[in-house]
């Protein structure tokens, strides 16, 4: 039996920082039947305030660049000459069932690859700017996932289970580590125009307290729901909140020192601060012309994602723990080119290539890349053979992703797929391995980061996952 260890709540609360931390602490204490003994070790301070990791962390923040829809590995980071040799021929291997079950012939990549950097790692024409940063990347060519359907794959990539309801990795990270930022949420999802299949449940806190839920920030001036005052002027709001503070006293007096109420009152103070902190965060007027250009803000097709990448850097500077970037709408579909591969992949790549390179360069020049883990991946890859004539179907059996920064050995390639680029055959990395490695770089042992739900101690990595030590610096 798990009895909440006796805590003098009021005492704890008074010790905690008067801010987001205190608020969230109380949120957890309300859940003390489950939560109090589950707050990770050394939770003497607030759960949302920064907490010590299990061991020294390489990365303080994560920027997760989610390539929604599934970019093709053989057209981006995993060149396969055999596809050119056998272009148009029947593929000489057993093909597993695919989403559209419309298997065409081998399709060579429409794009050339060329080596970049000192490492000479080949990158396709789709990513000439990211290619310039290849010496900072570790490209994993042997990713495997469990699902061929977008939504299952999205849930799996985010939460380690291909179904609705499990906490997203950003929620786990903030649950484990809290956040340095005191007036911004610890887990932010930057919405550039495309919500992945499965919706906002990709970013849910699941069975963890809602404190750790991903906050969706839209691009533009008004990123957060209910943050704008609407018709209410700030002056009018200040008057209202002044009265509210006064009238809250009655219940406080009646209930006694009830920390649920105290916490709720503090929560309003944080909401207030967010009303100024968030606009300040997304206001990039103060950024130099060179920076704006670096992120592609001067170009129409890179503007939106560039702005979100820049906001991501600003969030890293403010101590936000986990930032996920969603794909922009580019006038073709997301990276899901069942047809129209050439145009679709080119538009998707063009929208993110300069901004991502800009982000890497900017982080590096500011000395932030060492402590920021940047992760680029889709929910799966695509088939080496065509679907129809100019498309590729889903392929979770072997695809490419890359990581950079915070503790990653740059300029390296890890793992390999077969000659067609269909199956990962060497040094396979599962999604659970990827999660374990990300948590490891954040200083957490994925096996120790648990939360009891449904009768067992749940993990981001479920029962699986091994840290991929070979890719660590």
């Amino acid at each position: 039996m798990r009895i909440a260890r006796p805590i003098n709540r009021r005492e704890m609360l008074s010790q905690a920082a008067n801010g987001f931390g205190a608020v969230a602490l109380a949120a957890l204490l309300q859940d003390r039947a489950f939560g109090a003994d589950q707050i990770p070790a050394a939770a003497s301070q607030s759960p949302m305030g920064p907490r010590p990791s299990h061991f020294p962390a390489k990365a303080k923040s994560v920027i997760f660049l989610f390539m929604d829809g599934g970019p093709s590995q053989v057209d981006t980071f995993d060149p396969k000459p055999r596809l050119a040799k056998e272009n148009g021929q029947k593929i000489k291997m057993d093909v597993p069932p695919t989403q559209f079950d419309n298997v065409g012939s081998v399709l060579k990549s429409p794009w050339e690859f060329k080596p970049y950097g000192k490492s000479g790692i080949p990158v396709s024409e789709l990513f000439p700017n990211v290619g310039q940063c290849v010496d900072d990347l570790c490209i994993i060519r042997s990713m495997v996932a469990d699902h061929s359907e977008h939504t299952n794959a999205n849930y799996f990539m985010h939460s380690g289970l291909g179904m609705q309801g499990r906490p997203s990795m950003g929620a786990w990270a903030t649950y484990g580590l809290g956040s340095v930022s005191q007036d911004l949420p610890g887990f932010v999802v930057l919405h550039s125009g495309m919500i992945p299949s499965g919706g906002v449940d990709c970013f849910t806190s699941g069975f963890l307290p809602a404190t750790f839920q991903g906050s969706l920030f839209r691009a533009g001036r008004s990123p957060v729901a209910d943050l704008e005052l609407g018709e209410v002027t700030p002056e009018r709001q200040r008057r209202m909140m002044g009265l509210m503070r006064g009238l809250d006293g009655h219940m406080m007096a009646k209930a006694g020192p009830e920390d649920k109420l105290e916490a709720s009152i503090s929560n309003y103070e944080l909401a207030f601060r967010m009303q100024t902190a968030v606009p300040e965060l997304v206001d990039i007027k103060g950024e130099s012309e060179a920076t704006r250009k670096l992120y592609g803000l001067d170009q129409e097709h890179t503007k939106i994602y560039g702005q979100q990448c820049l906001v991501a850097r600003r969030m890293v500077e403010r101590g936000v723990r986990f930032i996920e970037l969603l794909c922009p709408a580019v006038g073709a579909d997301r990276w899901d080119q069942h047809g129209n591969l050439k145009e679709g992949h080119e538009k998707n790549a063009a929208a993110v290539d300069v901004p991502i390179a800009g982000l890497l360069i900017d982080l590096k020049s500011r000395g932030l890349l060492d402590s920021t883990l940047v992760v680029w991946t889709g929910e799966f890859g695509r088939t080496p053979m065509a679907q129809g004539s100019n498309g590729r179907d889903h392929n979770p059996f072997g695809f490419s992703m890359w990581m950079a920064g915070g503790g990653i050995k740059g300029g390296t390639v890890y793992g390999a797929t077969d000659d067609y680029g269909y199956y990962a055959i060497e040094n396979k990395v599962t999604v659970h391995d990827m999660h374990a490695t990300m948590l490891h770089l954040l200083g957490m042992d994925h096996k120790r980061l648990t939360y009891r739900f449904s009768g067992r101690d749940m993990r981001l990595t479920d029962l699986y996952g091994e840290v991929v030590h070979s890719i660590l610096a």
Partner: protein, 1060 residues
């Protein structure tokens, strides 16, 4: 070597094998098995140290054979010839020994190092645990195999699981996990197996895979929850005056034992606010509060409670709690977030059932098997079957769009059903036993698949919500009319004017020809298909001047249009295994469809599954329709002939065939055209009959449909080894949990057997779980925490009850008959046993017991001394302060503003879609900002578009049973209350209402607002502050905006969001 082109390799191997008996490198390899010593490898890594144990010879071997890879042998015939020549020269030992030695050598040099290198880190007898219980360092262990069975079949690499795993074939787990071995290495393993898997003689003991001990009886005896419900005696307490009912005695005895005193009684205003929110989820009106304050007669509070329990809003409030348990939503989620038709009918069923206080044992049985009850409950007003709607809960889970792996999808769907079933009714995490026996509880994997069998034998349906009784007279008339019409047609037409039964193409097999009198092997729902097949179906379709006769058959047919096109119904076949490439249907019809349900997949969608649905629009001529099912050969399936409304469907042949349909739609008789000529008398009669039919059809309506179960072909499930449908273990009879002593409850031929399951669940002698779990759920919602604080997990990993005797006392009284038997012979003593506390499974009586206790009437005020001794309030020394749930906050805003529309039931209101809610499946139009003023329980819950306002206040994601919501405290809550347009709008609605009375003074208005919002008048300080606030506004107290802002502030005062 091309890793995917094995042709040349396989081509050569048999030849290599042919030479095997004469392979005899004796002098080179004098290696008796014994010299190897232990049969256990030096796991985990093969190294030079290992080699030393076999000495010089081994090194020699190395020199000669280290590079002896299959590819080289295959690729280099001259080398092979040389090798063989060398072998021929030296042999004189017996063939067996020779083979043994060669094989052993091959093993020692190639296979043992390879296994050590690639496999033994996980699959060794020394591994802890041994992965999949498979050890690869002893031959017998390999032959014995792991959880998936034997790893190799000596001599047959193609039949060996190990090879399948290495090649990632045949559904075997892809091994090794870190990436496929090189082709050369896999070929070596294959070669070794082909040689019969030579292995040195065993000297030590044979490894046998240790099984983790799972002792169900031991588990059962060690955990409280399996024990029968006890009959605890009500404890004696010191402060007897405090005890209003036995609940108080249990609570007080705990408090006294820990030197705690109960908090003082809450005042009347607090109490009525608390109990009103608790029972109906709305604030009390000013009039209700005043009535209670003014009711000085004894029993005033009891009268409030009884009024609330009789309110229809009770069902809405507690129905919403229930919906949390069954992951209620009205869409499938996933990629398209498709609508789940008929879902809201389940919600309305729950609300009606709770309002009607349907006994909980009945309610449970209706959920599990409401479609099978011999005497279902009928709606008192409309006569439709209520009980069947309870089964809708099974189908409220998410649904994958076009799943690539149909069997995995089916297994996951079943798992979600079992998970919700186990938690909601039994408080057990049965899902934990999917892959292995439960790690902590007395639930075996066999238990899991015993339950799964019930679900495999059950089907999805949308049941029409109508009263067959009320329709019966019309149907009888239609039936008479149809028969008269049929007879007329037969008289009017030459006898031979009928289709001969279509011949069965060669190679095809007949699945159904409807030649029997009944629909044997099929189940019909609705009225359209009648009680059985029609013999000789005729169709006379009106034309401008006459009638056209179509679809004439002399054989039997399922015909949904015989009585009327307006009737609806579905005919479902028995479940069968698809063995042929095509299903051929000989059918006629329009506006109807044929659906093939494969592995239970209901959400038939392109790109993969579109062909499983065939829409009929071919009119009344019988024709062949061919369905290509070649992708699903080997899958289990059943056919649905669906007539959902205007339209009809006639089928007289269903065939399975590898060929396509015959090109001719059944041979028509030569004189068929001739036969269509009807006499003018017949035409006149037909017109008259059709006029009569149209008249009768006016009383038929298109009924709404509700999610429900339909019984299918009874089938047991098999254990899925490690949870994988790819490795099936033994069959498990359908039955309830073994720990509850349940024998097999279903026979193969009597359908799913769910009814027996339902009965076993609510038999108190058999299961102590159902009553304990529901009693705890009610307690949780009234007292803030459950007696068991993990309401969905009563297992070992859950929390133990804080008050076990109270829990059992409540459970015992909950299920005890509430009225003494009318039998006058009952002795006085026995009658006393039927105490006033007995509920007879009535939830309302149980509520009454709880909220009338003195415990419930305590204040929530914090007393520092008690707080110190009991910081988590596990002894219930006071009532907790509780934040209202998302729905209660929204509903209270509407109630206070005056916007609340108290309409009960009906189709849901579409959610308001803010610009922050985007993504695939977004509905085309947003619902109104205020949800049309309806209570939150009537907002359409779309899995991918749950209203952000509700989510901010911890509305749960509907994926499993959520018996206890978290109550978090996030900035989104404050932001929503401060800035959400709904709150701004309702502030103004309220302000308009307040200022409508032009005569009222500012003070009167403020008083009224406080009464409405907080069920109390303002104190003087509050009055002063509010008045001053109004005066400070730019427009002063005369401006609507000033009042809007005051209303807005009151919504944000914590007293509005929290309950004392």
């Amino acid at each position: 070597m091309d890793p995917f082109n094995y042709g040349s390799f396989y081509g050569l191997c048999p030849r290599l094998l042919a030479f095997q008996p004469i392979l005899c490198p004796i002098s080179l390899f004098p290696l008796p098995g014994a010299s190897i010593g232990s049969t256990i490898l030096y796991a985990p890594r093969y190294n030079s140290h290992t080699l030393q144990s076999v000495g010089v010879t081994m090194r020699l071997t190395n020199r000669h054979f280290t590079n002896w890879s299959i590819s080289e042998i295959v690729g280099s015939v001259p080398k092979l010839a040389l090798l063989l020549a060398a072998i021929f020269v030296c042999g004189n030992a017996s063939a067996d020994a020779i083979q043994d030695k060669v094989g052993l050598e091959f093993f020692e040099t190639k296979i043992r190092p390879l296994l050590a290198e690639e496999c033994l880190s996980c699959h060794s007898v020394k591994s802890k645990p041994i992965q999949s219980e498979l050890a690869l360092d002893e031959r017998n262990a390999i032959l014995h195999g792991g959880s998936r069975g034997a790893a190799i079949v000596p001599g047959h690499p193609e039949k060996s699981l190990l090879v399948s795993a290495l090649r990632g074939r045949n559904g075997a787990p892809d091994m090794p996990p870190k990436g496929r071995l090189t082709e050369q290495k896999i070929a070596l393993i294959e070669e070794w197996i082909r040689r019969g898997a030579p292995w040195p003689a065993v000297t030590g003991s044979v490894h046998s895979t240790p099984k983790a001990a799972f002792n169900l009886q031991d588990r059962k005896s060690k955990h409280w929850v399996w024990k029968p419900i006890s009959h605890p005696t009500v404890p004696q307490v010191k402060n007897r005056a405090w005890v209003k009912n036995p609940i108080d005695a249990f609570i007080l005895s705990g408090l006294e034992a820990h030197s705690l005193t109960p908090a003082p009684a809450a005042d009347r205003r607090t109490l009525i606010r608390r109990v009103t929110f608790d029972l109906i989820g709305l604030p009390p009106t000013t009039a209700e509060v005043d009535a209670f304050l003014n009711d000085t007669a004894p029993g005033a509070y009891e009268r409030v409670v009884d009024r609330l329990l009789a309110s229809p809003h009770y069902g809405e409030r507690w129905g919403r709690h229930w919906l949390d348990l069954v992951r209620y939503a009205e869409t499938y989620g996933h990629e398209g977030d498709y609508d789940k038709p008929g879902a809201y009918q389940y919600r309305d069923y729950v609300i009606r059932a709770l309002n009607a206080d349907v006994p909980y044992n009945q309610f449970v049985q209706e959920h599990v098997a409401g479609d099978l009850l011999a005497n279902p409950r009928h709606n008192p007003a409309q006569g439709f079957n209520e009980s069947i709607l309870g089964t809708g809960f099974w189908w409220l889970g998410e649904g994958t769009h076009s799943p690539v792996d149909l069997l995995q999808d089916e297994a996951d769907r079943l798992d979600n059903q079992i998970d919700v079933f186990g938690k909601a009714f039994l408080g057990l995490t049965m899902g934990c036993a999917r892959c292995h026996d439960h790690k902590f509880d007395a639930i075996s994997t066999r238990d899991y698949y015993a339950i799964a069998g019930f679900l495999r034998s059950s089907r999805y349906q949308l049941t029409p919500i109508e009263s067959p009784q009320q329709m019966q007279a019309t149907i009888d008339s239609l039936d008479r009319l149809a028969n008269d019409r049929d007879e007329l047609l037969r008289r009017a037409l030459p006898a031979q004017a009928a289709h001969a039964a279509p011949s069965i193409p060669s190679g095809a097999t007949l699945f159904e020809d409807f030649s029997k009198k009944s629909y044997a092997g099929w189940t019909a729902t609705g009225q359209a298909f009648g009680a059985g097949p029609r013999q000789g179906a005729l169709r006379a379709v009106p034309t401008a001047a006459s009638f056209r006769v179509e679809a004439v058959t002399n054989s039997g047919a399922a015909d949904s249009g015989f009585l009327s096109d307006r009737l609806h119904g579905v005919l479902r076949s028995r479940t069968f295994t698809i063995k042929n490439r095509h299903i051929l249907y000989h059918v006629a019809g329009t506006g109807t469809e044929i659906r093939l349900i494969v592995s239970g997949l209901q959400l038939i969608q392109d790109p993969i599954y579109g062909g499983l649905r065939i829409s009929l629009s071919g009119g009344d001529a019988l024709h062949w329709v061919s369905q290509d099912v070649s992708k699903w050969i080997g899958y289990r399936a059943y056919i649905e002939l669906v007539d959902n409304g205007p339209g009809h469907l006639l089928a007289d042949r269903i065939l399975f065939s590898d060929g396509d349909a015959p090109s001719e739609a059944g041979a028509r008789l030569a004189n068929f055209e001739e036969s269509r000529k009807l006499s003018s008398e017949a035409v006149a009669d037909l017109h008259a009959m059709d006029a009569r039919r149209l008249d009768l059809e006016k009383s038929l309506s298109d009924p709404p449909r509700g999610l429900a179960m339909a019984d299918g072909t009874g089938e047991n499930d098999r254990v899925h080894i490690r949870g994988s449908y790819k490795s099936l273990g033994s069959e498990v009879p359908r039955r309830f949990l073994e720990a509850l002593g349940s024998p097999a409850v279903a026979r193969p031929d009597d359908g799913s057997g769910r009814l027996a399951l339902a009965r076993a669940m609510v038999a108190p002698t058999q299961t102590p779980l159902v009553p304990r779990v529901i009693v705890n759920r009610l307690w949780l919602h009234h007292f803030g925490e459950g007696i068991v604080r993990t309401p969905d997990d009563f297992g070992v990993m859950g929390q133990k009850p804080t008050h076990p005797e109270l829990l059992d006392w409540l459970a015992d009284n909950f299920i005890s008959a509430s009225n003494p038997p009318s039998n006058s012979n009952v002795k006085a003593g026995a009658a006393a046993a039927f105490s006033s506390n007995a509920c007879g499974w009535s939830l309302k009586k149980l509520h009454r017991l709880m909220v009338l206790s003195n415990t419930y009437r305590m204040s929530s005020r914090i007393e520092p001394k008690s707080e110190q001794s009991d910081p988590t309030n596990r002894f219930v020394h006071r009532m907790p302060v509780r934040r209202l749930e998302a729905e209660a906050i929204r509903d209270a805003v509407l109630a206070v503003s005056g916007r609340l529309d108290t309409t009960l039931y009906g189709p849901s209101v579409m959610p308001y879609l803010s610009p922050y809610m985007e993504g695939r499946g977004r509905p085309g139009t947003s619902g109104p900002l205020d949800g049309a003023g309806r209570r939150s329980v009537y907002i359409n819950i779309r899995r991918n578009f749950i209203p952000l306002f509700l989510l901010a206040f911890d509305y749960p994601v509907p994926f499993t049973c959520i018996g206890r919501r978290s109550t978090s405290n996030v900035p989104a809550q404050a932001l929503a209350m401060m800035n959400n347009p709904f709150i701004l709008e309702q502030s103004e609605v309220w302000a308009k209402r307040i200022t409508a009375d032009k005569q009222a003074t500012t003070e009167e208005r403020i008083r009224q607002m406080y009464q409405t919002a907080f069920s109390r008048p303002p104190d003087s300080s509050e009055l002063v502050q509010a008045t001053a606030f109004l005066a400070q506004q730019p427009g002063g107290s005369g401006a609507l905006e000033s009042w809007t802002d005051l209303c807005h502030v009151l919504f944000n005062v914590k007293e509005f969001l929290f309950l004392n």
